[in-house]
């Protein structure tokens, strides 16, 4: 335990540590190299021990094991983490910009009277402070922020750090909750899985993904035709699903699916970080957008600055001609 340590708030998805956790471990390892501290992973749960071994890229793994932590509860997570962070006194705490991190990190920072930044993409030590680069405005703006004071709570965007799954000599310490936990005002009842029956977009080689730039439900048909011509399926950004134009099973991104097709053709999608999270690993990304500064062009291999409604038909024809 040292004031130079970097603490990682680990998360699990159903049966394994979440991808973001390995990225945070990678980021923490780099930062600990600069501060001269250790990487400490903290995992909350009721069967955390079974995931601890996977986190051995850390130097120490703290597992807080309590039946009240079996499912996510904002109050319980904040209470436990507040106690652990106070006791450990690290230089920085890396938390993911996730459904859990969003509920926990700002409150934790306020309770600890610690500085917090959201959208962290990179971090370095600069004198007494940390220099944190944050992404905001849907990925259109970057800010370099000096964070003075410890512990700095860094809400980290997925995809920011190279994941570290390196096996270390981590020592696992399992403890009961350091604070008494009772069911609070917010209680978990059950997980609801997506409706089965729709195609699994994670298994497709070709996805034609539509965003708000499609403008009207009636225009989806032409995108569908393009998808069929390519032997693929339709996927979508969140607003299309929120509109009820396509089912949630088609949503790509933070709260949707993580897809890695051979071709991801993004039509009228701005490329917000929450969307990129779900598709940046695709083999070939082609983006069509009327806005040349759309962040989707940062992740796409090929870009077209054009009205998608003008391009789709000629594209169907060009593909049919090639198939000949």
């Amino acid at each position: 335990m040292s004031a130079q340590d970097i603490l990682v708030v680990a998360e699990t998805n159903q049966d394994a540590p979440a991808d973001i956790t390995f990225e945070l471990l990678g980021g923490a390892r780099e930062l600990a190299g600069a501060t001269g501290g250790q990487v400490v992973a903290v995992l909350l749960g009721s069967d955390g021990v079974k995931h601890a071994a996977a986190l051995s890229a850390a130097d120490r793994i703290l597992v807080i094991d309590d039946p009240q932590l079996a499912a996510f509860s904002p109050d319980a997570y904040v209470a436990v983490l507040e106690h652990v962070i106070s006791a450990e006194g690290p230089r920085a705490v890396l938390v993911g910009c996730t459904t859990i991190g969003y509920d926990v990190a700002p409150t934790l920072a306020a309770k600890l009277n610690a500085p917090v930044v959201n959208g962290c993409k990179a971090v370095a030590v600069e004198g007494d402070a940390l220099k944190v680069t944050c992404g905001l405005c849907g990925g259109k703006i970057l800010a370099d922020v000096a964070v003075a004071g410890s512990p700095a709570i860094l809400m980290t965007l997925p995809g920011s750090f190279r994941p570290s799954e390196a096996a270390g000599q981590a020592q696992v310490e399992t403890k009961a909750s350091p604070v008494p936990l009772q069911p609070g005002a917010v209680t978990f009842e059950q997980m609801i899985m997506p409706e089965a029956g729709d195609v699994d977009i994670m298994q497709q080689d070709v996805l034609v993904a539509i965003g708000r730039g499609i403008q009207q439900e009636g225009n989806i048909e032409m995108a569908q035709e393009l998808a069929e011509t390519l032997g693929g399926e339709l996927a979508a950004s969140r607003p299309i699903v929120d509109q009820g134009w396509l089912p949630t099973t088609r949503q790509v991104g933070k709260s949707g699916m993580i897809v890695k097709p051979k071709l991801y053709l993004a039509l009228g999608i701005s490329g917000a970080p929450e969307h990129q999270e779900g598709m940046s690993g695709s083999d070939v990304i082609i983006a069509v957008n009327t806005d040349p500064s759309a962040p989707i062009f940062d992740v796409a291999h090929y870009g077209v600055e054009m009205d998608l409604l003008d391009l789709v038909e000629p594209l169907v024809e060009a593909i049919n001609a090639k198939k000949g």
Partner: protein
């Protein structure tokens, strides 16, 4: 049920975003504002709950970022009362901790059973408003919610997890919920109704004092470098279409 909805204005991302001369913030003189999308969903969720079970909807906003049109729109959609909080700088929205302090003071007096606020906003750098507001109000909080059902002294809220998975959560009232999406997309109101609301709606004003956040200083704000960007395909629609088809053949995607 008395529902309070917290509404903020954010920079419109469709318009070009300029950096101020200081180099440490957006040039707010040039920014065009619109309602934060998740706050708009929070309002929709409040109206749906009111329609299903009765009650009132009070909208609270800071008087900055050209908020009036948003508030008239909220009135036209069915908000019962609108409260506006004067702020020092009418152009530049305060950071989340300061905004939370301002909103909390105003919301305290409203006897809310349920406070709905957008789960996040794209300009939140120093933490996030929704959970900080709950902390200031000393109310329970859960965010990233897609859909709410009213119950007896509690609500059921559906919290998003990756992979289109939802957690069904029971939340005892009073509480604050961070809304990501309402059960239905925000309703459309005709311009004529907004115009009528502009004439008939009176804003209540509540003056409160603000507070600062510790330890965070923006040194530089900038646009991402145009480094590893996409190779842009130029030409007419037909030419671009032919180029794409060629690439697909080259990459073995089209056989």
């Amino acid at each position: 049920m008395n529902i309070v909805v917290v509404v903020r204005q954010v920079p419109d991302l469709i318009e070009p975003l300029e950096i101020a001369e200081s180099g440490t913030s957006l040039d707010f003189d040039e920014v065009s504002f619109l309602v934060n999308e998740t706050d708009d969903h929070a309002l929709e969720q409040a109206l749906l709950l009111k329609e299903a079970g009765g009650g009132t909807v009070t909208v609270v906003a800071l008087d900055c970022g050209e908020v009036d049109d948003t508030l008239y729109t909220a009135a036209a959609k069915g908000a019962d009362k609108i409260v506006k909080i004067p702020v020092e700088d009418e152009l530049r929205p305060p950071a989340p901790p300061a905004a939370a302090a301002l909103f909390a003071e105003a919301v305290k007096g409203l006897q809310a059973d349920l406070v709905l606020v957008g789960s996040s906003a794209h300009d939140e750098l120093e933490g996030m408003l929704a959970p900080l507001l709950a902390l200031k109000l000393q109310l329970p909080y859960v965010g990233v919610i897609r859909g709410v059902r009213a119950g007896d002294g509690s609500v059921t809220a559906f919290k998003e997890f990756p992979g289109a998975v939802m957690a069904k959560m029971n939340v005892k009232l009073p509480a604050v919920l961070g809304i990501l999406a309402a059960d239905q997309p925000p309703r459309y109101v005709p311009v004529s109704r907004i115009k009528a609301a502009t004439k008939s709606t009176e804003f209540e004003e509540v003056e409160v004092a603000a507070a600062a956040a510790p330890g965070v200083t923006v040194q530089r704000m900038y646009h991402p470098a145009a480094g590893e960007r996409a190779e842009m395909l130029e030409g007419s629609e037909e030419e671009v279409a032919a180029k794409i088809a060629e690439i697909l053949v080259e990459k073995g995607i089209l056989k």
